[in-house]
């Protein structure tokens, strides 16, 4: 088994109102110096060793992310 991490982020040109709301709230809580926040999703998958990178990419592209509005990365991590 391997642990696979898929990170999904809104594309840079897509408005991210949730990230903006977080960025806007930080100064009100006394945290200064954060100029931008973008909010995405983080998936952790427990995957059999037989699952190849191509399949993982397909999972990310067809299911976990919507490539119209989101970018994604897949990486295997030590579990």
């Amino acid at each position: 088994m391997a642990r696979v991490v898929v990170d999904v982020m809104p594309k840079q040109e897509i408005l991210d109102p949730q990230g903006q709301a977080v960025a806007g709230a930080l100064p009100r809580l006394g945290f200064e110096g954060v100029s931008e926040v973008r909010q995405g999703k983080h998936f952790e998958l427990e995957v059999a060793d037989s699952v190849d990178d191509e399949t993982l990419a397909k999972i990310a592209e067809t299911m976990l992310a919507n490539p119209v509005i989101e970018d994604w990365t897949v990486r295997r991590v030590d579990s």
């Binding site: 040109e13 897509i14 109102p17 976990l64 119209v68 509005i69």
Partner: protein, 239 residues
């Protein structure tokens, strides 16, 4: 718009038209969509998300709601349901399809329409009667409207901001595929005030506002939504 038929005065010609309405776990507006179908004199056929065939319907409405709890992304799980596999294939062969609100999100996720619906710019869930301007009166779902007509139809969504890359938006505009635009205020920050679009053939359409909630002044702000169902019926009866 012409006078709508009532449920008690069906035109004989309409009796043959059968329009399916899909129900996913979490669909909410399937019943109102079925009612709108019956109101214009067609037969409403309930389609279940697990169905492996479309029961021979002449058109399909993908209704609003929160299919599969909006988990992952709105419409992201629904696109893998058995009935959607059938629908994508049938739409490719020309079956008329209308996606309303969550249904619009599902059609975009399934690749039947370009672009995507994202979180409202103001982050708030917006529920209000919304003015729209009709841009396209040649799609199968909008022939009953006059060009430039203004409609008052409810919107109710948290993720209705239509987004696509600039090339796609330019293509939609250039080909006259923007069905409706928000006027008197954009409720969600959608690109170019887009409220609804159609595919290149004018047969698959999606919109965030709810025409099925505006078919009777007793229960909605207007009956402006009836025109979409009557438009489809015209095409089905003529076919």
């Amino acid at each position: 718009m012409s006078a709508p038929a009532t449920e008690n005065s069906r035109t004989p010609a309409a009796d043959g038209a059968r329009i399916g309405v899909i129900t996913f776990p979490g669909s909410l507006d399937d019943v109102d969509a079925q009612r709108a179908v019956r109101r214009v004199g067609a037969e409403a056929v309930a389609l279940w998300h697990g169905d492996h065939d479309l029961h021979g319907v002449d058109a399909v409405i993908v209704p609003g709601g929160f299919s599969y709890g909006d988990y992952l992304r709105c419409g992201a799980i629904a696109k893998f349901s058995p009935v959607m596999t059938e629908l994508v294939e049938a739409a490719g062969k020309g079956l008329p399809v209308l996606g309303i609100c969550n249904g619009f999100q599902v059609l975009c996720e399934a690749g039947l329409l370009p672009g995507a619906l994202t979180r409202n710019a103001g982050l708030h869930f917006v529920c209000r009667d919304q003015w729209l301007q009709v841009e396209n009166t040649t799609s199968l779902w909008t022939t009953r409207y006059e060009p430039g007509a203004e409609l008052l139809i409810p919107v109710k969504h948290g993720e209705g901001s239509y987004m696509a890359d600039r090339a796609t938006l330019d293509e939609l505009e250039g080909e006259g595929r923007v069905l409706l635009r928000y006027v008197d205020g954009n409720p969600n920050g959608s690109a170019r005030d887009i409220a609804g679009i159609t595919d290149a053939r004018g047969r698959v359409a999606g919109l965030m506002p709810h025409p099925e909630h505006a078919i009777d002044p007793l229960t909605g702000p207007t009956d402006d939504g009836l025109g979409m169902f009557l438009s489809a019926l015209d095409a089905l009866v003529a076919a």
